[in-house]
Symmetry: C2
Subunit: 410 residues, 2 copies
C-alpha cells in the first residue's frame, strides 16, 4: 500500500539498511549515496512507518503530558512550557521529542487510560500535571502503574502535585482514615499517610516564607521526579495578608474536595488562622464552602452560599483565580462592591487576573518555569533535585481586590 523503505532502497539502488542509516543520520554514509537516497525519498514522498520503526528500535520519541483540564490556562501554560523544551536537537536528526498533551478531565479512569496508552507506545517520558486525586484506591493504582512505567525506562515527572507516597506501606487503620476525611478541615487532621510530623504545631514560630520541607523525606528511589508547588505557603501568606488588613470574617470557597491542591491551600489558610487569629478556627467550617470544581460557577454559587451563612463577610478566598472571578460576579450581583464591601483573592495569577475587575489579589505560581523544568527533567536534560523533589516558590500578588474592611455595610 504505502511506500516502504524497500521501495526507496530499490529506487536509489541501495539496500534498505543504507536508507535507514541515511534517514536516522546516526551512521556514516557516503555523500553521494546520501543525496541519491534523499532524492528517492523526495520523489516517493516516503514517510517512515512509526510503529515499525518503534518496534525495531524499541524506543519512541513520544512524551505524554497529562492535564486535568486543557481549557484551563493553568494547564495550558504548563503544557506549553513543557513542550517548549522538547524542540532541541537539529530537526533532521530525529532528536526531537514530541510532546502530546492528554486531557484527563480530572477523571482518574481517564488518567489511567492515557497512562496505559502511553505505556503501550513505550513513551519516552510522561509528565503529570496539576493536583492529583486523593483517593486511596486510585492513588495506589496510579503509583504502581507509574513505578512500572519508570521501571520500563519511561521517565516520570510530577508537576504541581505532591510526590508519590512510598510503595511498601500497606493501608493501615482504615477507620482512622475515614474519620480523618470528615474532620480534615478542622485543622487537626493527621499528617499525610506515612509521613507524620508534629512540627506543624510550632509553625507560629516560623517566618512566613516558603516551606520546602514538607516533602523532603519522600525520595522513594524510584527515579520519579516531582516539582511541587508551594500551595500551602502561598495560601498561608495570602491569609496573613487579609488578617493584616484587619479582616476577621473570611470566607473560603475551595476546589473539589478530593484534590491535593485543594487540601494544601486550605491547610495553608488554616495554618495562618491558627497563627494569627486562632479564635477564628472554631467557626472555620462555617466559613468554608466546598466548591465542586475549579470553575467560575463554583465561585459564583459558593459566594452566594457564603453570604447566606455569613451576612457580615468581609473577605473571600478562592480556590483559584477562575473561582475568584465567579465570586466577584456573585458579589457584584448582590450589590456589593469589591474591595470596599468585600475583599476577594484568587490563586495562581493567571494572565487574566491582572485585567480583572478590580485587579485580582492572588498568589503567583511560576507555571511556565515549572513546566519548562518539568520538560527538561523529562528529557533527562537536567539533573533531578536532591531527594527527587523540588518545591517552587509562590509569591503574593497584592492588588486591587483586597483592602481593609470598611466596618460598615448596607
Amino acid at each position: 500500500m504505502a511506500v516502504t523503505l524497500a521501495d526507496v532502497a530499490t529506487r536509489a539502488g541501495v539496500s534498505a539498511a543504507t536508507v535507514s542509516r541515511v534517514l536516522s543520520g546516526n551512521y556514516p554514509v557516503a555523500g553521494a549515496t546520501r543525496t541519491r537516497v534523499m532524492r528517492a525519498v523526495e520523489e516517493l514522498q516516503y514517510v517512515v512507518n512509526g510503529p515499525a520503526s518503534a518496534l525495531a528500535a524499541a524506543t519512541s520519541d513520544l512524551v505524554g503530558v497529562l492535564v486535568n483540564d486543557i481549557a484551563d490556562p493553568f494547564f495550558g501554560i504548563i503544557a506549553s512550557a513543557v513542550q517548549s523544551e522538547m524542540g532541541t536537537g537539529a530537526p533532521g536528526t530525529g532528536q526531537q521529542k514530541l510532546a502530546v498533551v492528554c486531557n484527563t478531565g480530572g477523571s482518574t479512569e481517564s488518567e489511567l487510560t492515557y497512562l496505559t496508552h502511553l505505556q503501550r507506545q513505550r513513551a519516552a517520558a510522561v509528565v503529570l500535571t496539576g493536583s492529583g486525586v486523593e483517593d486511596e484506591k486510585h492513588g495506589a493504582a496510579l503509583a504502581s502503574r507509574l513505578r512500572r512505567l519508570a521501571a520500563g525506562g519511561t521517565r516520570i515527572v510530577l508537576c504541581g502535585r505532591p510526590p508519590l507516597a512510598p510503595p511498601e506501606q500497606k493501608p493501615q487503620h482504615k477507620d482512622a482514615e475515614h474519620k480523618d476525611v470528615q474532620h480534615r478541615h478542622h485543622g487537626e487532621r493527621q499528617a499525610r499517610s506515612g509521613r507524620g510530623k508534629e512540627r506543624r504545631e510550632t509553625l507560629e514560630d516560623q517566618a512566613p516564607g516558603p516551606r520546602d520541607d514538607e516533602h523532603q523525606a519522600s525520595d522513594t528511589g524510584d527515579g520519579i521526579v516531582t516539582i511541587a508547588f508551594d500551595n500551602r505557603g502561598g495560601s498561608r501568606r495570602l491569609t496573613e495578608h487579609l488578617l493584616s488588613l484587619g479582616h476577621r470574617s473570611i470566607g473560603y470557597v475551595t476546589g473539589p474536595a478530593d484534590r491535593t491542591t485543594t487540601r494544601d491551600r486550605l491547610e495553608g489558610h488554616r495554618l495562618a488562622l491558627r497563627a494569627g487569629a486562632p479564635e477564628l478556627l472554631a467557626q472555620a467550617e462555617q466559613f468554608t464552602v466546598h466548591g465542586g470544581a475549579y470553575d467560575r460557577s463554583s465561585g459564583y454559587d459558593g459566594a452566594l452560599e457564603l453570604l447566606r451563612r455569613v451576612p457580615d463577610l468581609t473577605a473571600v478566598l478562592a480556590a483559584n483565580d477562575t473561582v475568584a472571578l465567579g465570586i466577584c460576579a456573585a458579589l457584584r450581583d448582590q450589590g456589593l462592591r469589591i474591595p470596599e464591601d468585600v475583599s476577594v483573592a484568587g490563586f495562581d495569577d493567571l494572565p487574566f487576573s491582572a485585567d480583572a475587575c478590580p485587579t485580582l489579589t492572588t498568589v503567583r505560581i511560576p507555571l511556565h518555569d515549572a513546566g519548562a523544568r518539568a520538560g527538561r527533567l523529562a528529557l533527562g536534560r537536567e539533573t533531578p533535585p536532591p531527594g527527587g523533589v523540588a518545591t517552587v516558590r509562590t509569591e503574593l500578588m497584592a492588588r486591587g481586590s483586597t483592602a481593609p474592611p470598611s466596618g460598615s455595610r448596607n
Copy 2:
C-alpha cells in the same frame, strides 16, 4: 525485557493467537479460556506493545489535534471539546480513540513536523484548529501533505480555518500577488487565490447576517472536512454595532498579519465601513495597527500606537479578547475611561470576557460546539456537511465596554 504476548500465552496455557483474540475481543473465544487468559494478563501486568500491534494491524487509535497556542483558552476549549467526543465505545473494547493535542506555537515548521509524526504513527484522524498561515509556499506544502494523509486513510478536519484551496492551480502571476499583499488592507484586494468573485462589491445590499457562501465552491472531493468560523460576518456586525452607536473614529489592532483569521476579521470590519460609513475607508490604514500576536502585549502596544496616530479615537476593535484586555490596560494607563472615553471590543467571547473590567463587548464563537463537531467528524460519526464545509455562526455580545462616544474628552 517487558512481558509479551507469548509470556501471557505460556502462563495461561494457550497459544499467543488465543491471547490476541481475547484481548482484541473481535473473535469468539470460549468463556473459560477467556477468563484464564485475563487472569494471566492481570498477574503479569501485561500491556500490549503498541508499535508491534500497530505494525501488524496497520491501524492506530491516535487522533491528533493541532493547535496554535495551547496556553490560549481559545484552543483549549476547542481541544477539550474534540477530546470529549473520543470516549465512545466500551472502555475494554479498545474502541476508544486517543486524542493528543499538539502545540505548534503557530509555527508552520512545527505544524509540518507534527503532521509528519502523526503520519508516521498512521493516525486515525487529525484535526487542525485555528487560523492557518497565509504563506503560499507553506499553504501548498500543507495542502499536499494533508491530501496525502487523507489518501492514506487518515481523516482530516479543519476547524476554525478556511478550507484548503483546490490543488491543481499553479501559482499564477506572482507579481500581482505581491502587490496585493501591500494593498490588501484598503478593502480592494483581490479575492483569494483561485476563487475570484465580484459579488463582494454589492455587499451593501445584503442583510448583515452570517455569510456562509464564501467557501461553497471549494469541495475538492478529497474528503477533507472543514468547520469554518464566520469571522467576517461577526466582525462586520461588531463594526456595525459601533457605527450605530455613533462612532466615527474607530481603531483596529489586528492579529498577526499572515493569518487567515486576521484577514477575515479585518475584511468584515472593512465591509461594514464600506456599507455604513464609506467616508472612513480612505483613512482606514491609519486606523489599523497590525499586532504581532494574539496576545495582551500586542493589544497594549497597539493601543498606544493608535492613540499616538489618532488622538481623538473613540473606539478600538481588537483581534481577539486577549488583545482587547491589553488595549483596555493601555487605555486605563493613559487615564482614559472605558467606555466613557473609548469603547473597546474583542472577539471570541472567551470565558474571562464577561468578567473583564468593564465587561467586554465581543463576538461569540461557539467554540465548544465547533470542536465537538470536529471530533465527531474526525471519528466518522457524523456525516460531513454538503460540500465538505460548514460555517458556524457567530453572535454579537454587546456588553459594558462599548457605549456611544461622549463627544468631549480631556
